[in-house]
Assembly symmetry: C2
């Protein structure tokens, strides 16, 4: 059986692993546009912050006799009638045709260039995106060569804020502009976001909320500032982190899409039965509400890649949706969430929430503050959680499992979280938040 994988991102890597482990006769061809194989884009801000080599983010992909990886190749056409693709070698321009029985489209997404005056025009020349390793190289080179003093970040999501902190630790003046009235609008409620905003401000990063950017101001050849809410802010470099648009032009008019994202069934199959899709270019099911959503996160792409790979290789796998688990780290601040925010949940459910503030370990073993918000419906069913502080992402992992298993706040209260003073508190923050939350519900029977 001939398998073709378009894009060697996380989804492509995990699909390939499963295909080759299930179908011992699989011939797999992977087409990757980059000049290098799989890499860790999420690591870029931290590598920059630490001044380490971006080379550390590359993962050479294990070749076998039956896995052919074509890097620096671009797919220019998919012929789904004849089941073949046409690929261009980006080094020498040569074209080749590759036949497939099953195709995985895991080409990911590209940074979205927002409709801001001069954003597109000055891309690479004072305006930067962060996705590929060369993006980071270009940004660092520009900052060094032009002796940049101010940098602005447009968009207060994880990449924007991680990059903002990274730039700050470079010694630059950093401003973040966010259209919405809070940071992390996707993953945090305003009460939790305000804690992050305080942390950023406390670290000397300027945050402008409810501040859409109208223009990147240029003076001749150079970027000199930002115009937002009709104010001018000096800035010689701008980082765009306004989201990602799916890389799906090749499948246009061939498979069903919604807002350019591929629609897949629970087998990760598109409307063409021989074309599967996984990763940042598909629309997925939110496990909690059952609604369709876009959630471009590597761990989710990994699971989808597995599901696609298993089905392509002839076994059966069902994808039941994402719990929307998310982690970011900005300087020393760990931030995590899973499930719906209270804001989002309130649109559909009668929502209760509680916030616990405690320690991740006792003070005498060096414990630090941890904050956990827990959200449930009137029956106590857990809808989401948000955490902040060291180990908060580990607590969120427990809630992610709880959500997957339709748990209630009672399960969170009852769950045994291991205790040893060197690593944890006797009364874990998850138990504590559940305790506070359960008191707001009308519980007739506690089941521990």
């Amino acid at each position: 059986m001939n398998y073709v994988i378009i894009g060697l991102g996380t989804a492509g890597v995990y699909a390939t692993r499963y295909i080759s482990s299930i179908d011992r006769n699989a011939d797999i061809t992977i087409i990757e546009k980059n000049r290098y194989e799989s890499y860790s884009p999420c690591g870029i801000p931290f590598i920059i912050e630490k001044g380490e080599s971006l080379e550390l983010l590359k993962h050479p992909f294990p070749r076998t006799k039956r896995i052919n990886v074509l890097i620096n190749h671009e797919v220019i056409e998919i012929d789904n009638k004849e089941r073949k693709i046409i690929v261009k070698n980006l080094q020498n321009g040569e074209k080749l045709e590759i036949a497939y029985d099953k195709l995985l489209f895991s080409a990911g997404a590209e940074p979205l260039i927002p409709k801001i005056k001069n954003a597109n025009e000055y891309l690479g020349n004072g305006v930067f995106v962060i996705k590929r390793l060369e993006d980071a190289e270009n940004l660092i080179e520009y900052i060094r060569e032009k002796s940049i003093k101010h940098v602005s970040v447009i968009g207060a999501g994880p990449i924007g804020l991680e990059m903002a902190y990274s730039m700050k630790s470079f010694g630059l003046n950093v401003s973040v502009f966010e259209m919405l009235p809070q940071v992390f609008p996707r993953s945090l409620d305003p009460d939790m976001a305000s804690e992050v905003e305080k942390f950023l401000t406390g670290n000397g990063i300027k945050i402008y909320l409810s501040s859409p950017v109208e223009e990147i101001v240029v003076d001749g050849e150079k970027v000199v500032g930002i115009k937002s809410n009709n104010n001018f802010y000096s800035s010689e470099a701008v980082i765009l982190s306004a989201g990602f648009r799916p890389n799906t032009e090749l499948l246009k008019n061939m498979v069903d899409m919604e807002r350019s994202f591929i629609i897949v069934d629970d087998h990760m199959r598109s409307s063409d039965p021989n074309i599967y899709a996984a990763g940042d270019n598909i629309i997925v099911k939110n496990m909690i509400s059952g609604e369709k959503t876009v959630f471009q996160i590597a761990t989710v792409a990994a699971k989808q890649g597995m599901v696609a790979g298993i089905n392509m290789a002839g076994k059966e796998a069902i994808y039941t949706g994402t719990t929307l688990t998310f982690v970011s780290k900005i300087g020393s601040l760990e931030i995590a969430s899973t499930g719906l925010t209270e804001t989002e949940a309130s649109k559909k459910y009668r929502v209760f929430s509680a916030r616990a503030r405690g320690l991740n370990r006792p003070k005498y073993t060096g414990g630090t503050e941890i904050l956990l918000k827990l959200i449930c419906d009137e029956n106590g069913k857990i809808l989401g959680a948000q955490g902040m502080g060291e180990l908060s992402s580990q607590k969120i992992n427990v809630i992610s499992m709880a959500i997957r298993k339709n748990s209630t706040v009672m399960d969170i209260l009852a769950n045994e979280m291991g205790y040893c003073p060197e690593v944890s508190e006797l009364y874990d923050i998850t138990n504590m938040a559940a305790d506070l939350l359960i008191k707001k519900l009308n519980i007739s029977k506690y089941i521990f």
Copy 2:
């Protein structure tokens, strides 16, 4: 309503919290034999290791008008017909009578003095147990005053091994004697225990397995060594960590017991309907096998205390059992487990297991090795897990939740563990272990 709580350990503390929050008219009297209130016994080895003050382990108990705490008082009689107790003030010898409507017996357990020649005779004089703060003080004083060079630990459970490491970092020569052929016999399988043994040996601690101690050898007034397997080992001090016997003499012939542990129903009620029991002195249900077991762990006592408190105060709570979640930290080595060991599970189930070795974070953010063993039955139902390395206890918490919710290895593979290179790996060790384990099962359909 008059509530009497015997013992201000973890179970007593949590019961009191719930009673007073549910029954606003509760009059609560707590009797505590110690000269201080609630404290953290689990912290003792770490406080000693760091040379910090044991005072840090004390938690003054919040008094209210309706909560009367009698420290330095001992219950000398329980009259369950008249529903009253007789209490002796240990300072002045005065006796008083206290009536109860509901009684919680949470007097905990006392260190077991094994039947070893001279163990009892030299207790406090070269032979030590570790339970109360004064036990630790006595040990430290003895080591300092007598300029002790060698110390032996009898029993390779958590307290024994944590104390062994703590004594080693004091600069002493330390030997550990364990009757069974492995360390942590309760919580780890031999393959995982051997990793701990390697770590201890690597840190200069001598471990003697399959080595019951026959005699503590004395020379006149002084302890001078240990006799085990007919060999003599020099040692001027001995720490006994051979387990704990329940403190239940007062209830003898009054309520049903098994091996001196109180038998309770799922409401934490003993065979006397007005006497509840919780904590280290009861026999509990193992949630996985449904069998009765003894599991003297603070987090478990906390849950049982809550269950008892809720029921005593007139609401209903059910205790469904313990997942046997356990954590220890020996020097830099974090060790955790939950559920059944493979050894234990094999007695009842057809068992499959897999062990994954990976990183807790990528190398470029300072990741270190983490090891996770996952155990399931032939249907993939998770029966237990064991972990080692930094963050392993956090991973075990996820598995504890999974066990509580009757999860399968598929749930562990599918669970979204948040990824951010600064705090975690893209392919979490739990997912990785599940991946290895699932390949050993005959799975017809993967449900992500």
